[in-house]
Structures are given as structure tokens and as C-alpha cells.
């Protein structure tokens, strides 16, 4: 079973992504939620997470800074991270990939788009 961490300051998006995760064939265990990068790092320290879905624009610590700090820790380097964000320019996508994102989906998204990306990552 795969424990997942969803990082987004929008409770609505966290609910939607959790619903989409449960619709995939991936064996999802516990889904943890965080409202920003600070909470996300705390959750990573406490739990064994197998997949992260993260927004970029968030208060306190944005998704790119969270990604950089996450990838700086050897223990977390192998965890796939799917960025889910309104930031849609090529420059932003490249920046996320350079910082260690495993995949990128632009908002708005369909459930099928998320599922397709997840299957490619797991």
C-alpha cells in the first residue's frame, strides 16, 4: 500500500486529488494532507510517504522551495513528486523539473490526466 502526501493550500483541491487517487488502480494506503511546504516537510519526517502531489503557489513555503528541501535529504530523494499547479509556462515547468519534480500537471486538470501521470510515476 502506498501512503501519499497531498500538498496544497486549497482544501478543495486536496479533496479532489484524494478522490482521484482512490479511483486509480494504485493501491493507496493513507493519504496525508499539508497546506504548505512547512507542514509537508513535517509530515515527511513523521510518516513513510511513497508519493507526493504538490502545488507551487502556497503561503509560508511554496512548492518549489519544498521540493528543493525535500530533494536535499537523501532519504527522500527516491519519492516521486507530481507538481499540480496553475503555473503553466515552460520556464516554470523546467524549473520544477530541475529542482527534482518527477512530473507536472497544470490546473485545471481532468481526473484522467492525473491518473495517466501517476501510472507513469509508480
Amino acid at each position: 500500500m502506498l501512503d501519499v502526501l497531498i500538498v496544497d493550500d486549497s482544501a478543495a483541491i486536496r479533496k479532489i486529488l484524494q478522490r482521484v487517487l482512490r479511483q486509480t488502480e494504485i493501491p493507496i494506503g493513507t493519504v496525508y494532507e499539508a497546506g504548505d511546504g512547512v507542514e509537508a516537510l513535517e509530515t515527511l519526517r513523521r510518516q513513510t510517504i511513497g508519493l507526493v502531489l504538490s502545488d507551487i503557489n502556497m503561503p509560508n513555503m511554496d512548492g518549489l522551495e519544498f521540493l528543493t528541501k525535500m530533494r536535499a535529504e537523501q532519504i527522500w530523494q527516491g519519492i516521486p513528486v507530481l507538481m499540480v499547479s496553475t503555473e503553466g509556462t515552460q520556464a516554470r515547468v523546467l524549473e520544477a523539473v530541475e529542482r527534482g519534480a518527477s512530473g507536472y500537471v497544470r490546473k485545471p486538470f481532468t481526473a484522467d490526466q492525473i491518473k495517466e501521470k501517476l501510472v507513469g510515476l509508480i
Binding site: 493550500d9 486549497s10 482544501a11 478543495a12 479533496k15 478522490r19 509556462t89 520556464a91 490546473k107 485545471p108
Partner: protein, 186 residues
């Protein structure tokens, strides 16, 4: 000595309106499975807000600065949340306000992405949602809002953006090198 770059006008009102229409259509059809039919664009000196209802505001900053917002009635906000979350809501609550905030974030975020190719990189704030009666919002300065109304069944919502060149961007101040008298010690 101070130097300023002259502000460029690389986008027209119709460019902005088209970005709003495209982003709103994309969000509503993709995430809500609803059709929001655009009406005629108009310009408001003050933001076109209902006397009561829900307004969600987001700031834009960079080489251009401004704000974007979505304004609608309480009933419309409930319909948006019910569609986005696939859960029947009947009244405004925290979930409904959060849903409206996220829809606004996606629409204005996509407007920003559409415009960045010509206007340069911009940052997006987190949304602020206001709900109540008999209120108005104001932006500082004397800016005009480009307003695109949409019909959602019997309801109406407005997506509007106010944006202008950042006149502080690119300013450079250089000191000429002689001491300021009151700082000279003897």
C-alpha cells in the same frame, strides 16, 4: 540620477478579455463540467461587484501589477462548489468559499500564464474571499477593470482583471559620489 523605462502597452483590452474568456471556459468545462456563457465585455472604473454575494480576489505582481477577481451571488457560489467538489451544498460555508477561491486561483492563474509571454513574469498572491451584504471593493490608484460577465444557468458571475505596467520596475538610482553634508563628521 534616476532612469525609468517607458511603460509598454503590449496588450489590448480585447486581448485581456479573450484571456479571461479562455481561462474561465477551460476551468468550468474541465473541473466543473459546466458551461459558463460569456457576455459582452465592459469596463468599470470601480470593480463590478454585487451589492451582496461572494467576491474572490487575487493579486498580480511583476513587470505588470494588478488584481483579478470573481464575483457572484451566494447561490452561484454554492452551485460552483457543488460542481467542483461533486457534493451538494445548499448554503455558504467554509468549503464553498474555499471552492470559489480555488476556481478564482485557476482562472486568474491561467490568465496570468496567457499574458506572461508578452508582459513578462508575474507572481500570483493567494486568494482572499469576501462574503456578505452591501459591500464594495476598491483598488488603489485609478485603474480600470476589464469585466467579462458569464451566465451560468439562471445565475450570473463576473470575472474581472485590472492590470497596468509596474512603473517602479526597472528604476535604478545611482549616487553621484559626494558625501551628504549632515553625515560628515569633523
Amino acid at each position: 540620477m534616476t532612469t525609468n523605462t517607458e511603460p509598454a502597452q503590449p496588450i489590448s483590452r480585447e486581448d485581456l478579455a479573450e484571456a479571461i474568456r479562455a481561462a474561465t471556459n477551460d476551468v468550468f468545462t474541465t473541473m466543473l463540467n459546466l458551461t459558463a456563457a460569456p457576455g459582452d465585455v465592459f469596463v468599470e472604473k470601480e470593480e463590478a461587484v454585487p451589492s451582496s454575494g461572494v467576491v474572490s480576489l487575487i493579486g498580480l505582481a511583476g513587470s505588470w501589477v494588478g488584481s483579478g477577481s470573481l464575483a457572484c451571488s451566494a447561490n452561484c457560489a454554492v452551485a460552483i462548489a457543488s460542481a467542483l467538489l461533486m457534493t451538494p451544498y445548499t448554503a455558504i460555508d467554509e468549503d464553498v468559499l474555499d471552492a470559489v477561491a480555488e476556481v478564482t486561483n485557476m482562472i486568474i492563474g491561467n490568465v496570468k500564464t496567457a499574458l506572461e509571454g508578452r508582459l513578462g513574469a508575474m507572481g500570483l498572491s493567494t486568494p482572499t474571499v469576501i462574503y456578505g451584504r452591501n459591500f464594495q471593493t476598491r483598488s488603489s490608484g485609478n485603474q480600470e477593470w476589464t469585466v467579462v460577465p458569464f451566465s451560468l444557468g439562471e445565475e450570473r458571475l463576473c470575472v474581472q482583471v485590472c492590470i497596468a505596467p509596474n512603473l517602479d520596475a526597472g528604476k535604478k538610482t545611482t549616487r553621484t559620489g559626494f558625501p551628504v553634508p549632515h553625515l560628515v563628521r569633523t
